[in-house]
Symmetry: C2
Subunit: 336 residues, 2 copies
């Protein structure tokens, strides 16, 4: 049997058996955005980690060190945000090939320190070593969360409103520009490029949602809306219905899609790397929370659908027809 | 300026500036075996991480998955041991090239789970992704330690007895066998091979030393005795004098060195990857602690020298002559 056959999640499922040896004090382990276990007496400790490998996650000649460092940290902060936690400490492991200039590495740490400063997170340690060919970066971020406010993937309830903290699909458009070396010749393309390379982790947004007491489930949009919503569905044992007309599409993405002939709804559904939070909000509290959210951030919390009991993922298309959709995101081993 | 020019530690020194943004509650960060910061009210949380890269740290065709997984975890446990802590949770990031069979990976996780079970540590999460060519493993281990018992590198005092929890040089001999594809044709060579591939982390030993209240500094021997002792000297602002005749050389290493024409003292001094603990013990308490140690583990705590005020590292050779030695261990960037 090969990795290609069982896929990324099948592999995780296989290896996670037998890993939880001392379950006392563990709230969630493999299978959520971050592991949560008791550290401080009254707070949960959160730990998340992401490995970035050259030629897989990035092309060294196509990124600045700054942007690479920033994003390596941002994606981990996003996982802490999706748990409703505060990010606290970061640990960076780096495997450096001979031909990687020191300047690039210094720039990379500047990018990390920039974001770390913004969210008052320490970079407390790590490991530095060589690599034969590819630059390798592993980031670990620990966080804290109040046990009563922890946001899991598993609490979504039928009737909940599905919300996103921001626009979807921009990052995928930015990636398209990079992969096709399309020149950034307008403010719209610049915004899409930035959405891909300098995503803003939703830590404050996550804290507000967690403290509201009416968010039943949350995840950050890393693999893509449909894929990440699929994780909530699976963990919660529910279905979901998304509404195309309600999809938060930025004006930038509209411009991009008109110009290059893409469907913005497809970008929003399957794009990935948006790093917005996707959450499932108690219907009765939806009015209150959107008001609080707008007051705090001067932006809307976008309702994009609802949790159903069908077990399926459906999309109400712009012409009001209902069709089933399947999670289409990133799986490192299944995808060609 | 290149990495080769400033070296591994120079690089860490450079990048660590500006990393400690919120120092409150942080006991030690970059510069010790593990970072220690307050997590649980009465306990410090410890976090350590190690990145292993194929063709740099291991050759995939020369190791079993089991041994690789075991060692990836063991080296992190060893860092927690060197802080006097208890290892608690592990997080494993893995970057997998297309040609790596699933069987190898399953075997790797078996190796990790084997050691994790032995020390009652959870493997609580991680990241799984692809890699273009090399297999990549990053392990993070968190631990707990009593603030009053934390073992740092910086507390060594003039007059302290320098001790090792086990024999030195065996691992380097085991590596020699592997690199030169020498057949394992005797129990002695088997023991040396095992010392390199299945090192036993000294967690219980570290706890005893920490609880004794008379260990002023500690480090685990990963880069090599002289190199790691150099770290204690630098952090504590002291010198050290080692005694060749007291060096704990195993009977296996004696046999190996006689057969292949090596100097066992050189192996002990510069070998590396022994994963014993090197510690600096208050002279007056040395009798008591060695007795406790022998009672607990039925093995001696080996005294190998003393802390001095010279600022230099010296060796009393077997013919009683005194010579200065320099730290000779592993630096990923300085070494060819």
């Amino acid at each position: 049997m090969s990795l290609k056959e069982i896929g990324e999640f099948g592999f995780i499922d296989k290896i996670s058996r037998g890993c939880l040896i001392r379950p006392e004090g563990v709230v969630t382990a493999i299978g959520d955005d971050a592991a949560a276990f008791h550290g401080k007496a009254e707070q949960l400790l959160l730990v998340t980690t992401d490995l970035l490998v050259e030629r897989v996650h990035f092309l060294r000649q196509a990124t600045s060190g700054f942007n690479l460092g920033y994003k390596a940290l941002a994606v981990n902060f996003s996982d802490i945000a999706a748990m409703g936690g505060n990010a606290r400490e970061a640990f960076v492991s780096i495997g450096i090939p001979d031909d990687c200039p020191l300047e690039f590495l210094e720039d990379l740490y500047r990018g990390m320190q920039h974001l770390a400063s913004e969210f008052t997170v320490n970079i407390l340690g790590g490991d530095t070593t060589g690599s034969k060919q590819d630059l390798i970066i592993n980031v670990v971020v620990t966080g804290m969360a109040d046990p009563s406010e922890l946001l899991l993937r598993s609490g979504a309830q039928v009737g909940d409103i599905i919300c996103s903290t921001g626009c979807l699909g921009d990052s995928r458009a930015g990636l398209h520009l990079i992969l096709n070396t399309i020149g950034i010749d307008s403010p719209e393309l610049r915004a899409l490029f930035d959405a891909h390379v300098l995503p803003k982790p939703c830590l404050q947004e996550g804290r507000l949602l967690a403290a509201s007491g009416c968010v039943h489930a949350a995840i950050d949009v890393s693999d893509g809306l449909s894929s990440d919503l699929g994780h909530i569905m699976q963990a919660s044992g529910v279905g979901a219905r998304l509404v195309a007309k309600q999809m938060p599409i930025s004006p930038h993405l509209q411009v991009f899609c008109s110009r290059f002939g893409f469907d913005p709804i497809e970008f929003a559904l399957a794009g990935g790397e948006d790093y917005t939070l996707l959450c499932s909000v108690e219907r009765k509290q939806f009015g209150r929370i959107t008001e609080e959210y707008r007051k705090a951030f001067d932006r809307p919390l976008y309702p994009i659908g609802e949790i159903t009991d069908t077990g399926r993922m459906e999309l109400v298309e712009t012409d009001s027809r209902l069709r089933d959709i399947t999670p289409a995101g990133w799986d490192h081993f299944k995808r060609k």
